[in-house]
């Protein structure tokens, strides 16, 4: 880990002043970065992937609250812990997809440490990004993409570019995408509200920029609009727990009698950002749920996939997962476990328990 100066911000103003006007290093890495839980930041600093000169500790800022909003929505403070969000009664009641997504990710210890803001900013798990001996345009622009001709098992099938085929690994972000959350940030030029679909970028020819957040901007909160429908998260991974998704799907369903008024569907680990399944959303609007409809919708989504040498499995796996998530969220299939828990969101056997409860 490279040496750095540690500062502790007492106010949001302090924090912003500490990072404002710090020149960027080459490769777009900031000299000064904010530090909350540190589960992603410190991991990458230990690998020398991240080399900030100044760490500004923001854990003492008043950003931890989870507050009900007057319009019926919920404001998640940027400093609120993942576990606090997942177990919050309002989240468990009204935004079940978010609880299921968070609890499907990481480990209990990490969920206790990781913050809402930090989860939004977590970096890709691409092994070439993580390995400073390998060429990587995201880590060092202009050096090339080792994954393109390498082992690209966990890489993108949507929205990639020749410069970068990395995926966003966050479970929570898929849920926030399906819920159309809004990210409130503050910078030297003032406050702005960023719709979730615009927060994360596609790689294009600037893969070093994961999000539209400027280096001198601080996330204040993630705001959830009011939601009265049903929602669900389904994740496929190679281990029963504590593993990143191969593919994941989040669905938020609002009904109009027997028909679907609006379906919002987002997918994880298939692109540089949570991928809204636009084709499926259009197909489902106004229709009655059925297995055939859902499979038709899923197929339409994945018709546009661009698989690589090692990730073609994601096409079929994604199609099946999307279909199944829709079946479960609409009640055509039972959940695998209690709603709002990792047991509901983990496809396959979790903790040795087979569907139906048999161990």
């Amino acid at each position: 880990m490279y040496p750095f100066r540690y500062e502790r911000a007492r106010t949001i103003e302090d924090a912003l002043q500490s990072v404002t006007a710090q020149p960027l290093t080459i490769a777009g890495q900031s000299r000064a970065v904010f530090l909350a839980g540190g589960t992603n930041q410190l991991d990458f600093m230990k690998e020398n992937v991240h080399r900030p000169d100044i760490l500004v500790d923001i854990t003492r800022l008043p950003l931890n609250a989870i507050t009900a909003m007057p319009d019926g929505g919920l404001r998640l403070g940027a400093g609120s812990k993942n576990s606090a969000v997942a177990y919050h009664p309002d989240v468990q009641k009204n935004y079940v997809i978010l609880a299921e997504a968070i609890l499907a990710g990481a480990s209990p210890q990490i969920r206790n440490m990781a913050s809402t803001g930090g989860n939004l900013l977590q970096r890709t798990r691409c092994p070439y990004f993580r390995d400073t001996a390998m060429a990587c345009n995201k880590r060092e622009p202009g050096t090339g993409c080792s994954a393109l001709t390498g082992i690209n098992r966990v890489h993108a099938i949507f929205g990639a570019s020749p410069q970068c085929i990395a995926t966003n690994p966050s479970d929570m972000c898929v849920a926030l995408s399906a819920l159309d959350a809004v990210v409130r940030v503050r910078g030297p030029k003032g406050d702005r509200s960023i719709p979730f679909s615009e927060f994360h970028r596609l790689p294009g020819n600037r893969p070093e920029r994961d999000t539209v957040l400027e280096p001198d901007e601080l996330i204040l909160s993630v705001d959830l609009p009011p939601f009265q429908g049903t929602s669900h998260y389904l994740k496929v991974r190679e281990r029963a727990s504590y593993a990143y998704a191969l593919v994941s799907v989040g669905a938020a369903l609002e009904m109009d009698g027997q028909n679907i008024r609006r379906a919002r569907i987002s997918m994880g680990s298939v692109a540089h950002k949570p991928w809204r399944a636009a084709e499926a959303e259009q197909l489902l609007a106004g229709k009655a749920p059925s297995a055939e409809l859902f499979r038709q919708a899923a197929t339409a989504v994945f018709a546009g996939a661009k698989p690589l040498e090692y990730n073609a499995y994601k096409v079929r796996m994604g199609t099946n997962t999307l279909t199944r998530c829709l079946m479960e969220v609409s009640g055509l299939m039972p959940l695998q476990g209690k709603a709002g828990t990792a047991f509901a969101s983990s496809a396959g056997s979790v903790a040795g328990e087979l569907p139906g409860g048999a161990v």
């Binding site: 530090l35 410190l42 230990k46 760490l55 480990s107 210890q109 990490i110 727990s241 979790v350 161990v359």
Partner: protein, 413 residues
């Protein structure tokens, strides 16, 4: 307890009550032979006559210790040209022969001292009031204690308290003023200082007694002794030895500034001076002697380093120590009440919840938190709830049994 004759006893027959506290500055060293690790037995009379440094340490068999000692003194001798502003500003050379060291200052006569390493379980340790503790004493030629430092039982020495003690003892010396070669008599200067040893009485002449040093030289010797002793006692020799040499300006070996960090660990407050990069796990293991938390992966993937911060289970390898000011940290060492095991520890023993034991402290810390979180109602919930703790020995089935037993016991977890 007075510091005169009453406090002394002879050789191996520690018949009288040994002091329960380390002997204080100004006390006369007890008339006991010293069974040193490397130089045989040194009698009291042989010891007196020059400045002596005694280091009491653990006597676990450590074949590397002699090597380390040799390497360290060689390094010290090579590095005898210090930075500006250091207490060793004018130390031109350090010579060593066996237990004797000569520090050459300003081309004047060298400061002579001898250093002995002693077992802290020995009767000598009893006599000095440091049985079972790591400690160092600096004695003048008359055998009077001029400076001492004893480490809390079970802890590793810390630079900050040692530096504070040095600065308190030698307030004018830390600003590297010019030397005053006055010879100061020992504190309780009785030219006919005598020892009672049953059948013999020995007298120490005034000449011998008078060999204490000018204040800056005293400081140099003591700081040197402290540095050497810290290295022997197993602290992070590099950064902390350098720090000890210059109390005013800590010169870290890594190029980063160190910062003060105050941590509360198992209810006890620690005042540390750390490289900002130091993870909580490394503070626990390397700085405060709490090696119960293990480093399995150092990247937050295995859970062996799990501790509680403000009652929540977290990974100490991914927790920056500097961020933990004001938090309550509890480690595996903080679970038991003295000799009474925590119910989870007892359950792990009863249900054989470990094989090699390396993941076990993390498993126990995680399990205790899991029960307090309240989501351990079924086997599946327990396994999912413990999924952040890996066990390469695959003791999982017994771990689940232990967690269930602790959950179902009448005891509060």
């Amino acid at each position: 307890m007075s510091v005169t004759v009453d406090n002394r006893y002879i050789g191996e027959e520690a018949a009288n009550t040994p002091p329960s506290e380390p002997l204080a500055v100004g006390a006369a060293a007890p008339d006991v032979p010293l069974h040193t690790a490397q130089h045989g037995t040194v009698g009291f009379a042989e010891m007196t006559g020059q400045t002596t440094v005694l280091v009491f340490s653990e006597n676990d068999w450590n074949p590397a210790r002699a090597e380390q000692m040799t390497a360290l003194t060689n390094a010290l001798m090579k590095a005898a040209i210090p930075e500006k502003g250091s207490a060793f500003q004018s130390v031109n050379a350090i010579e060593r022969e066996g237990s004797h060291y000569a520090l050459r200052i300003d081309d004047q006569e060298a400061l002579q001292l001898q250093l002995f390493e002693l077992d802290n379980q020995s009767s000598a340790a009893h006599a000095y009031g440091v049985h079972g503790r790591q400690a160092l004493f600096v004695l003048d030629g008359a055998g009077v204690i001029r400076w001492s430092h004893a480490v809390e039982p079970g802890m590793l020495p810390e630079v900050t308290p040692i530096l504070a003690s040095l600065q308190a003892a030698f307030p004018s010396s830390s600003t590297a003023t010019s030397d005053s070669p006055a010879i100061h008599p020992p504190l309780n200067s009785d030219p006919s200082l005598s020892t009672t040893s049953g059948s013999t009485t020995s007298r120490i002449s005034a000449e011998k007694a008078g060999h204490w040093l000018g204040s800056r030289r005293e400081f140099v010797v003591t700081a040197f002794a402290g540095a050497l002793a810290l290295a022997l006692l197993g602290t992070d020799a590099d950064a902390q030895r350098t720090a000890l040499m210059d109390p005013k300006r800590l010169v870290p070996s890594t190029g980063a500034e160190t910062i003060p960090v105050h941590l509360t660990i198992n209810g006890k407050r620690h005042n540390l001076q750390l490289d900002p990069r130091t993870a909580l796990l490394d503070v626990l293991r390397e700085h405060v002697g709490l090696t119960g938390s293990k480093k399995g992966c150092d990247h937050g993937q295995c859970g062996a380093c799990t501790v509680h911060i403000n009652g929540q289970r977290v990974l100490s390898c991914l927790s920056l120590a500097a961020q933990q000011e004001g938090t309550q940290i509890v480690t595996i060492e903080g679970l038991a009440h003295g000799e009474k095991l925590h119910p989870m520890q007892a359950a792990f023993l009863e249900y054989d919840g470990y094989q090699c034991g390396y993941c076990t402290s993390g498993q126990i810390m995680s399990a205790v938190a899991l029960l307090r979180e309240g989501n351990a109602n079924s086997d599946a919930e327990i396994r999912e709830g413990m999924s952040g703790n890996l066990c390469r020995c695959a003791a999982y089935p017994h771990i689940v049994s232990a967690v269930k037993a602790a959950r179902d016991s009448k005891q509060r977890v």
